[in-house]
């Protein structure tokens, strides 16, 4: 065993005059179809050629900076391009997230994949269409107005001989600016958009031949495992190298507190990582997850921010006939990706190529170049599929691990985290504490609504990379978790509304955007509270909502859900015992995503077993309106996934941590939903071809937890206001309720 020790100074001095060569093709199986050479390919999103490359065989490559993380984004973008270009979607290959060939369209987050990524491609394709019609007009000697494009051919609209796009363009570039005014195809004429085309990645995912970043290899590549600190912020005091003496061909790399094992054989590295004995100092003290709701309420406040303020909510509530108030808490949660994150880096001198499943490869490239002192032009991040990430999981961290190690050992390095590292060290979705108060007048009108949120502070800048932190490289320490204050106000008629955020100074764990950031907890609170208002008024939960909405799309989403669910109007709770002594009930929740995007209503049937506290979700019905639908089957897959994943988060998931470290680090300590709990899910898609399309990878998550809590309330009369609804918590709540109110 050889041991290599580097100081930070050595590391920063390293680097030379080696110019990286971006081999295009051979090493990138997914990119074989891409004909345009990497060097010199336009990346400027104002250029048509940044997005599209036409090939002599009649195929087209679409380049996009947004990535497909298992969402069906690739087929949807191909359909949008195909529709404008008049070629079959099957002839389009999508290359996503390779910073060497794809334009920067921002990270893949906030449901912007299609609204920005797809829309940019569509506009480039619409521009290309006009150019193709022009070329066809010259070739066919007919006015462009008489021509159309279909089946990959420019041909007379009235019929007759056409000319293929391949013949017109060959391999040439357009060298055209994207025309923001290039006319788009009329949605009423769509023949490709709106079709449930199968996703191109699914067959290879089912045959085991799809190349994930985990499967990517390079000649001379080494495997590595990083030994993360025992406690957050701890420093490495000693390493007992004799503890791994029997393991062949493993090198120890230490840079200050960054410790890793590197070798040719992955198992040797994994085994050594498990066997290595280290001692660490104590870390930065953490508040602990026990009683985190109380800690959050009393934590020092950095600043208060009013994010919604209509009228005077405080005064209105103060003078209302009835006031209702409640507190809700959502814990830290992990992305808990099924495959621990992985990256391969090849650093040669002053240049680096990184293969990563990051949802923001351009952003990662910028951050890696800054942190490791590399010119941004000399860093290329190539996207390869990873295990579903649902936001920024450990993927950016592991890329930094790989870059640091490749730079240090001078060879390509593949790093895959352990399960414990992934669940323990992925940056987390933050804890959220909400107090809601409302005032209702004698007629049941909501005259005032006040939401107070306690959230960990959000500061700008890139998230600190663990590898840089441990190795003593200075970097930014942003604490962004996404737009976590949205949907804190009710979507219903309310005369005076305020949403106020108390940003706590201390941020217990590193934060990140986790699917539908903040909005799942906010809607859980707002829609649970709405249900509490309906129950207090003795009004049916569907009627209560419909009576306070005017937007026809909102009303239709709720109506369609209620209809498919066979919702019978009545007040709640309605405890009734079903077979085997279980309590059965139903609940509904509605929201409009970000108060500006998708309309989603979800109803569900549950059974609660009082003896065990187990909640069984039997059936979920969801009506979903995201405007124009591009691919209904891929969309349904996303909506189903949003629902089942959020049931998992609501029923089971809580990151636990003690005074020094995260203690929920595997599938036993951080359990997620398993098959026996999978409900029947019925999704109703409301297609609106006359409306703009909206992203759909997140929205249906938001009403899930409230619908669940509302159904449990309906079944038992017990209101669950703290997530997760574990068996212990439910059992305890039922027991307390029996004693105090004898509702059951």
């Amino acid at each position: 065993m050889a041991s290599v020790m580097f100081s930070r100074r050595d590391l920063l001095k390293a680097g030379g005059a080696v110019v990286v060569s971006f081999a295009f093709g051979g090493s990138l199986p997914r990119h074989l179809d891409a004909q345009t050479p990497a060097t010199g390919k336009p990346l400027d999103p104002s250029e048509v050629d940044a997005f599209l490359a036409f090939h002599a065989d009649g195929t087209v490559t679409v380049y996009t900076g947004k990535v497909d993380v298992g969402t069906g984004f690739r087929i949807a973008v191909a359909q949008m391009a195909a529709e404008e270009l008049g070629i079959p979607a099957q002839r389009i290959t999508v290359v996503d997230g390779d910073t060497g060939v794809c334009p920067d369209q921002g990270g893949t987050g906030g449901s912007t994949g299609l609204t920005r990524g797809g829309a940019d491609v569509r506009q480039a394709a619409a521009t290309a269409r006009q150019a193709l019609l022009g070329l066809g007009a010259a070739r066919l000697n007919r006015p462009a107005n008489d021509l159309t494009i279909a089946g990959g051919e420019v041909r007379p609209t009235a019929g007759g001989t056409g000319v293929s796009i391949a013949e017109l363009v060959g391999e040439r570039r357009f060298s055209l600016k994207v025309d923001a005014k290039a006319p788009l195809r009329d949605p009423r004429q769509y023949s490709v958009v709106g079709q449930p085309l199968p996703r191109p990645d699914v067959p290879a995912k089912c045959s085991g031949r799809h190349t994930y970043v985990h499967d990517f290899t390079l000649p001379g590549m080494l495997h590595a495992r990083v030994i993360r600190t025992a406690a957050i912020g701890a420093t490495l005091q000693s390493v007992d190298e004799s503890s791994i003496r029997g393991i062949p061909d493993v090198r120890l790399v230490r840079i200050e507190n960054f410790l890793a094992l590197v070798g040719k054989d992955e198992w040797s590295v994994v085994k050594a990582a498990g066997a290595l004995k280290t001692t660490w100092s104590e870390g930065r003290p953490l508040p602990g997850s026990d009683g985190l709701d109380r800690w959050t309420r009393t934590a020092a406040i950095d600043r208060d921010q009013t994010v919604v303020n209509r009228g005077d909510a405080t005064a209105a509530i103060g003078s209302a006939a009835t006031t209702v108030s409640a507190t809700y808490f959502w814990p830290f949660q992990s992305h808990a990706s099924l495959g621990p994150c992985c990256a391969v880096a090849d650093v040669k001198g002053d240049a680096a190529t990184v293969w990563s499943s990051s949802q923001g490869t351009h952003g990662l490239r910028a951050n890696l170049s800054k942190v490791f002192g590399l010119s941004v032009d000399k860093v290329r991040v190539v996207f390869l599929d990873g295990a579903g990430s649902y936001g920024t999981n450990g993927g950016d961290h592991v890329a930094a691990d790989a870059v640091l190690l490749s730079k240090t050992v001078g060879q390509p390095v593949r790093v895959q985290w352990s399960r414990q590292d992934e669940t323990g060290w992925d940056p987390k979705g933050p804890q959220q504490l909400l107090d809601i108060r409302a005032g209702v007048d004698a007629g049941g009108r909501i005259v005032g609504w006040d939401t107070q949120m306690w959230l960990p502070n959000q500061t700008g800048g890139a998230r600190a990379l663990l590898a840089a932190e441990a190795s003593g490289i200075s970097q930014e320490h942003g604490t962004g978790a996404g737009a976590i204050t949205q949907n804190g106000d009710p979507p219903y008629q309310a005369d005076n509304v305020r949403v106020m955020v108390h940003w706590t100074k201390e941020v217990p764990l590193q934060l990140s955007n986790l699917r539908a950031p903040g909005k799942i907890a906010n809607v859980f609170a707002v829609e649970s509270f709405t249900d509490e208002l309906a129950a207090a008024a003795g009004v049916d939960a569907v009627s209560f909502r419909l009576d306070r909405l005017t937007d026809p799309r909102a009303i239709e989403a709720i109506r369609r859900t209620a209809q498919a669910f066979n919702w019978q109007p009545r007040k709640s709770p309605n405890p009734r015992t079903g077979e085997g002594g279980v309590f059965e009930g139903r609940g509904i929740a509605y929201m409009r995503y970000k108060q500006a995007e998708n309309y989603v209503a979800i109803a569900m049937d549950v059974a609660v077993r009082p003896a065990t506290g187990r909640i069984e979700v039997r059936r979920v019905v969801c009506a979903h309106d995201c405007g124009l639908i591009v691919n209904p089957d891929a969309l349904k897959n996303q909506v189903e996934g949003c629902i089942v994943q959020t049931l998992s988060r609501a029923l089971h998931e809580e990151v636990t941590f003690d005074r020094t470290r995260v203690t929920s680090v595997d599938w036993a300590s951080y359990p997620i939903l398993r098959f026996p709990e999978a409900p029947q899910v019925d999704v109703i898609l409301i297609d609106r071809p006359d409306q703009p399309l909206l992203g759909a990878g997140e929205a249906a998550t938001a009403p899930v937890a409230a619908a669940l809590a509302n159904a449990v309330f309906d079944a038992t009369g017990v209101r669950l206001r703290t997530v997760p609804f574990t068996q212990e918590r439910v059992k305890a709540a039922l027991a307390v309720d029996r004693k105090s109110t004898a509702v059951l």
Binding site: V69, G70, T71, P198, R199, D201, V202, P203, K205, C206, S207, G208, R209, H210, T211, Y212, H214, D215, P248, D265, E266, W267, S268, V270, K271, A336, S337, L338, G339, P340, D385, G386, A387, G388, Y390, Q416, S418, R419, D633, A634, N637, Q638, E640, G641, I643, V644, Q645, T646, L647, D666, W667, A668, I672, L673, R674, F675, P676, A678, Q680, V681
Partner: protein, 153 residues
């Protein structure tokens, strides 16, 4: 280094390892470059690494190479014969029963073994049969549909 002989996707093979405890997973992904079998946890908790050993579903992350020796191992790559997908693979494609797909190989292997033992399962039986496999994307409803579809193929 000790040598371990076994059958892999119908062929007689052998692998060398310095460690009799080396999990089969690393042998498959390393020397045999069979990347369809995925590392999920290394703890036997998630099922992403499931392969068949003599037709039974096992976790390759907790199956030492020394225990695999002498047995017939089938991976997701070996389920496909002459470019014809296995009925479970075909059903997963037909139902589009994947999102990220990282769990898919293990899910298909578990389902294939399950259907050998239970050819005409009810939904409840299928749920119980897949209880040891995790899917983080929430593709459960489609995966269950695919298993039922395969049982009727």
């Amino acid at each position: 280094m000790a040598k371990y002989a076994f059958r892999l996707n119908g062929r007689a093979v052998s692998a060398e390892s310095w460690d009799p405890a080396q999990p089969l997973l690393y042998v498959l992904r390393g020397p045999f470059s069979l990347h369809g079998t995925k590392f999920g946890c290394g703890l036997g908790q998630c099922g992403a690494c499931t392969v068949l050993m003599d037709g039974k579903a096992v976790r390759s992350c907790t199956t030492p190479i020394s225990r695999a020796a002498g047995h017939a191992i089938t991976t997701i790559e070996g389920l496909t014969t002459n470019d014809t997908p296995h009925k479970v693979q075909a059903a997963f494609v037909a139902e589009q029963a994947a999102q990220c797909g990282y769990c898919t190989s293990g899910m298909i292997m578990t389902a294939a073994a399950f259907l050998s033992a239970t050819p005409s399962p009810t939904i409840e039986q299928a749920k119980a049969g897949l209880a040891g496999n995790l899917c983080r994307c929430g593709t459960h409803t489609r995966i269950l549909r695919a298993v039922v579809r395969a049982s009727k193929a």
